[in-house]
């Protein structure tokens, strides 16, 4: 998938998978949160990731601040953009009772609009980040500092999401809204507020994921679209609608991918991901951490 260092032992494979899974798990948590709340696959989330990659790069090159801060700022900007997308487009469709497929097709349309606007604005060429290889060694394995930072942000996002959903009043409201929208409405919960918060969190995580993915590899207009298969495999294998599922699924997928790349060959990585996705859909559609929504 990304930046595979020469992995030989099982420990190497585990750490490489952890490094590589971090950006896509961040994207997948946002994807799965949106599914939990609104019951549809938001395909334009891939483009949110792409924009995250480009914005981090722009901030990095034009403001000249450190890569970490650029990625964080880009994440916040993308979060706000996702909220605008919600207020401008998605909300008008949520208000009327569109079926799920129509919502997915709408998000597909938005995805195409955003992708080609990105291509128009930044060109079709891949753009590399001007980051030096800031290596430091850990247990004999080289990790760049941006990779270590990606893992740190991943764990912060995991604990943050967990804390938000289980320990705060807002989290209880969000879960209540996800379980029974009408009941929440009767209790005077504003869907607008929930929508803004969830779209912001999802957009921010997607933007962060895109920033890290870009820093590991490069930014290109089709970056998010190209990772859609892996992201969808992550959320379905883990259990759709469940942020912990995204983490479990993400690490599993990454582990399999890294092993396949190490022992079989690079060209079968995507195929192995698809195979796992198909097997999970066939045998256990609930995913690893149960979700009754599929």
């Amino acid at each position: 998938m990304i930046n595979i260092s020469i992995a030989i032992t099982i420990g190497d494979i585990l750490i490489t998978s952890l490094i590589n899974s971090a950006p896509l798990i961040l994207v997948a948590i946002g994807f799965t949160l949106l599914f939990k709340l609104f019951n549809f696959f938001n395909i334009s989330h891939g483009e949110i990731m792409t924009l995250g990659g480009y914005f981090s790069l722009l901030i990095l090159t034009h403001l000249g601040i450190s890569l970490f801060i650029s990625i964080i700022i880009a994440g916040i900007i993308i979060g706000i953009m996702n909220v605008l997308l919600y207020l401008g487009i998605f909300r008008t469709f949520f208000k009327e009772d569109y079926d799920m497929i129509t919502l997915i097709v709408i998000s597909l349309g938005i995805s195409f609009i955003l992708r080609y606007i990105t291509q128009l604005a930044f060109g079709v060429r891949s753009r590399f980040y001007p980051v030096g290889r800031m290596l430091f060694s850990f247990e004999g394995i080289s990790i760049t500092s941006v990779q270590a930072f990606g893992i740190a942000v991943l764990f912060a996002a995991i604990f943050g999401t967990h804390f938000l959903l289980t320990r705060t009043n807002l989290g209880r409201i969000i879960r209540g809204f996800a379980d029974n929208e009408r009941l929440a409405y009767v209790h005077g919960i504003s869907s607008l507020k929930i929508g803004i918060i969830v779209f912001f969190i999802a957009g921010m995580l997607g933007g962060l994921g895109g920033g890290f993915f870009g820093a590991y590899t490069y930014a290109a207009p089709s970056m998010g679209w190209g990772q859609l298969l892996t992201v969808i495999a992550i959320v379905i294998v883990g259990g759709i609608g469940n942020p912990y599922g995204a983490m479990a699924g993400g690490f599993t997928i990454s582990l399999v991918e890294t092993s396949v790349i190490t022992f079989i060959g690079n060209e079968y990585a995507l195929f192995s991901v698809f195979l796992i996705l198909i097997l999970v859909i066939l045998i256990r559609p609930r995913g690893m951490i149960g979700s009754d929504k599929l």
Binding site: F41, I43, I101, V105, L108, S111, I113, L228, E267, F271
Partner: protein, 291 residues
Amino acid sequence: MSYLPFVISVISVNLILVAVIHMQFGLTGISNFAVAAFYGIGAYTAAIISYSSETVLTLQLPFIVGVVMAGIVGGIIALIFGWIILKRRDMVVFIVTLVSIGLLQQLAKSQDWLTNGVRGIAPISYPVDQSVYVLIILALTAGIAYYIYRLKRSPYGTLLKGVRDNQLLAQATGKDTFKIKLQVFAIGSAIMSVAGALSIPLISDVSPSIFDPNQSFMVWTAMIIGGKDKIVGALTGGLIVFGFFRFAFVYLPIPSFFPDVTVTRFIILGIVLVLTLKFRPEGIFGERFTD
């Protein structure tokens, strides 16, 4: 090679795809986004069987054999694929068919022994004279469109609409909805593969870029703009999208300050799609209330 027959053939082949998606999604409710996947499978099958000179198979059989084999291979793959995913919810079908396109493209790039990798299979010549070939494609398109038109009015068509609108009720009246969906998925996808096979002399080479999600997007947009419930709508939408956005738009005298049309057409198409779903979700010819 003259240009007008080429344009007519490409539009016509794509109209087959739109008509099939109308049958699969508009009539039966199978949200199959893998149009480009089956199209590409058909194109590769026919190219490998009839034209390949550098891969494992150098059969060079007549083109008609390649076309028939494309339908068979596409149908068998659809049967296996459909058996796995069609039991699940519609949006799972949509998303898995969507990501399968990228997977096939990657496989076509890496499996040199079968597909000749990124170099692809070329050159592919017309099996008959180009003007005759256009007529064959047009006749086939008309035949498939008429078949789907008749299908909707047949008892089987009513059953398909029943599966689409109320799956539980259809099951309660003793219909095996999974089997019916699988039939429509396999037959439709086999037709798409045949369309892919027929298109290879037009594009003169088959390379991994034939697995193009943009094509699926254009076909779906065509069906939605025209109206998913009616074959007339699907064909009209197909003419609009493939006639205008695929060809005319690119060759219009556009002022030079205007950005790259090959890119902007997808932005415009996306906007048209979202606006259609907002203000006229049933499309141009659709039925507002399903019968």
